[in-house]
Subunit: 430 residues, 2 copies
């Protein structure tokens, strides 16, 4: 099998994959952009469309208690550890068409490529359509992948979707899941100990590839994070004319917090230590605020991420010290609320080297970047599954309607993935 | 008439005024606190209660096209320039019972005191219950007083109350006003050229009197202000993992703006130049913000106030320079929207001296303070009416449910006002 045949097998997926992307966009249309609400109507339509495409390829369709979708190309040895290629099928509200879905379609294209070449791998190849990765909805990360792996945090099934106010358990049941079985420790599919590797292709959510003029990047790591989804600052509501020395302005305290974090980030940038810090919600109380009232309460969410657990622990310590300083100076009180924590996702060195070799086989120049975002791959890595990721060039960022990945770049990334599968399975593919 | 008789005439108002305050609180009850919504049900009830009390005193009741309430003790010469004692009867949502109302009741107590002493002044004394002073509702300041004086800004009748979405004209009509006549330049009552002086008693909205341990302050000036009620910052919505160098975070830009203003204020404080600066609304977009989205838009209101027109102009210039710097550094754009402007209110030196003498007559030690807040008195000052103000000690600030003025302090402030009337009218009172 030479490189030309391999490339042709992926190029042959251009039209079916373009049609599938178009159908998914139509399924999720919610102008501007698409909304594939997790465990809701939007995600359901995406699952149905993808499952239908998989059926057309003759794949086995199964689902687990978390309602994740498994589309399996059977191997010659059904008991051998499986290769999982997956990503998520939900989106943020009014998001783009590619964040998540591209990775699932890359899996389908890979399987279709093998079929086109008439190859049957030794082990099963499982294309996984993962549920509820976008934490903006339930404010819990990796719900689908951790549900499948048995690592959902305590209480996760009771959290409520921010728009509907209904629990994850309720949404999950509605979409064919079985939260009671998940709680009881249902047998998971695939069993983490029976996963040979987890591979995920995803659009890049920053413009590093655009900046570098390349189509594909190999992931060097996935950030861990700590998050406070519902924090607030308690100050004192006062009259607009109150002299400065008497004020306990919660909004100014919030501003000082934001600028201290931004300054900290700039310092880390200068030292070359990658991290990110986002105050996604950052607001006075809509019911109480007004032109002539000094804000007595201020609300925010905080997400801090880094690629090293020690760095992350150091950042958390610094955040607390910043808060103590502001509380003392401004006579306000921070209420951070519940903390969520996601572990750093370490990329398997052999997979990373294999992906580099695969790209070289096809003369595709790659960038090496730490993932700007969190991904389900980290949940697999956290239970010891060797994992790797491929990023595809994408303009205008993600989590917005203006994501722009070209089908050419998608096929470049998918070719790297496919070539890696060919190399990885070369001793077992028949 | 000796000081003991004069003081007794005001002390006699303790019970009726306490009863009137209690009735007003009950009228406006909207836990926590009171809501006397301007040109709405809350303010209407307060006007009815106060008018009833004025009728019981035998005062003449009239209203103008802006639906302000005039309660007149006729003088011996009905054509002589009148003395106006007034304040507003509206409140912020869930505000306290005293902000505004105390000044109207002080006027009634003054008139009742004259009646008790059997005195008829040469000129009319007009107690004025002013409409819609609290700009949080219509985001326009001094609506009632400027309506009465014919100085409402263009377009003010078309602005909408933030809670109801209905225009000022519509609200005004509903409350017995005549916006068409106002627009046509109705004859105003009282004619500004026929006002001898405007006096206003108001609770202090900062704790300077508490800090100083005194009950009464004489106002040295009312701040002018410039305001941007509906400003916003245009950045770029992005993914939570986007590296810092690619971000155009509107919320961080807002935070930088807030801290720059706070630092500027601290500098002015150190130089002893009084000013104040408030970002009452300060928020990401509730429809778009979330834990994992870098905020692409940020909204705020700004109120900057000072006691000197030159200082105010300098501050406005500095605000624009701060904005330019942030726009350049962060690649965002500020949209300030419509600017509102209120002129500095200069206290009449003779009235101020007269109030000091009146306090000294009764051995009431006073503080001299610039008003922290804006007041209707400034609207009278702006058209050349000699004006003065008295502040009464009040705990817990204002514009909140916890305002706390004691009846003793109220009577101290009212006694200073009453003594000033006695001194001012001494040659004409019979």
């Amino acid at each position: 099998m030479d490189a030309t045949d391999i490339k042709a097998a992926i190029q042959a997926q251009r039209e079916p994959m373009q049609a599938l992307f178009d159908q998914l966009r139509q399924d999720g249309l919610d102008e501007p952009g698409v909304s594939r609400d997790p465990y809701g109507a939007g995600e359901q339509r995406a699952h149905a469309t993808v499952a239908k495409a998989a059926e057309a390829l003759g794949l086995e369709i199964t689902r687990d208690d978390a309602a994740n979708l498994y589309m399996t190309l059977p191997g010659r040895d059904r008991s051998a550890p499986v290769l999982v290629i997956g990503s998520h099928l939900d989106s943020v509200p009014h998001g783009g068409n590619f964040d998540g879905a591209a990775g699932v379609l890359a899996g389908l294209a890979t399987v279709a490529g093998l079929q086109r070449l008439g190859l049957t791998p030794e082990c099963d190849i499982v294309v996984m359509g993962i549920r509820a990765e976008e934490s903006v909805w339930f404010q819990v990360s990796y719900i689908g992948s951790r549900g499948s792996l048995g690592t959902l945090p305590d209480g996760a099934l009771d959290v409520r979707r921010v728009d509907t106010g209904r629990t994850l358990a309720s949404h999950m049941t509605e979409c064919g899941g079985n939260p009671d079985a998940l709680l009881a420790g249902s047998k998971h599919f695939p069993d983490p100990t029976k996963i040979r590797a987890y591979l995920e292709l995803h659009i890049e959510q920053a413009p590093s590839l655009i900046e570098a003029g390349r189509s594909v990047a190999i992931c060097t790591g996935i950030p861990g994070n700590f998050r406070f989804a519902d924090a607030w600052i308690e100050g004192q509501h006062d009259h607009v004319g109150l002299p400065r020395r008497f004020r306990h302005d919660a909004a100014i305290a919030g501003a000082e917090f934001a600028i201290a974090l931004d300054t900290l980030w700039a310092d880390y940038d200068e030292q070359g230590i990658p991290m990110a810090c986002t105050l996604g919600r950052f607001h006075t109380d809509p019911a109480a605020h007004g032109l002539t009232i000094v804000p007595g309460a201020f609300y925010f969410s905080l997400d801090v991420r880094a690629y090293d657990e020690t760095v992350l622990a150091g950042l958390e310590d610094k955040v607390h010290r910043i808060i103590e300083g502001i509380e003392q100076r401004r006579g306000v009180r921070f209420h951070l609320g519940a903390k969520a924590r996601a572990a750093v996702g370490l990329v398997d060195p052999a997979i990373k080297a294999g992906l580099e070799a695969a790209a070289a086989d096809h003369h595709i120049p790659v960038l090496h970047i730490g993932s700007p975002a969190s991904h389900d791959a980290a949940a697999f890595g956290a239970v010891g599954v060797p994992m790797g990721m491929i990023f595809v060039r994408n303009a205008n960022g993600s989590h917005n309607p203006y994501e722009a990945m070209t089908i050419d770049d998608f096929l470049d990334g998918t070719l790297v993935l496919f070539q890696w599968v060919m190399r990885d399975l070369k001793n077992s593919i028949a």
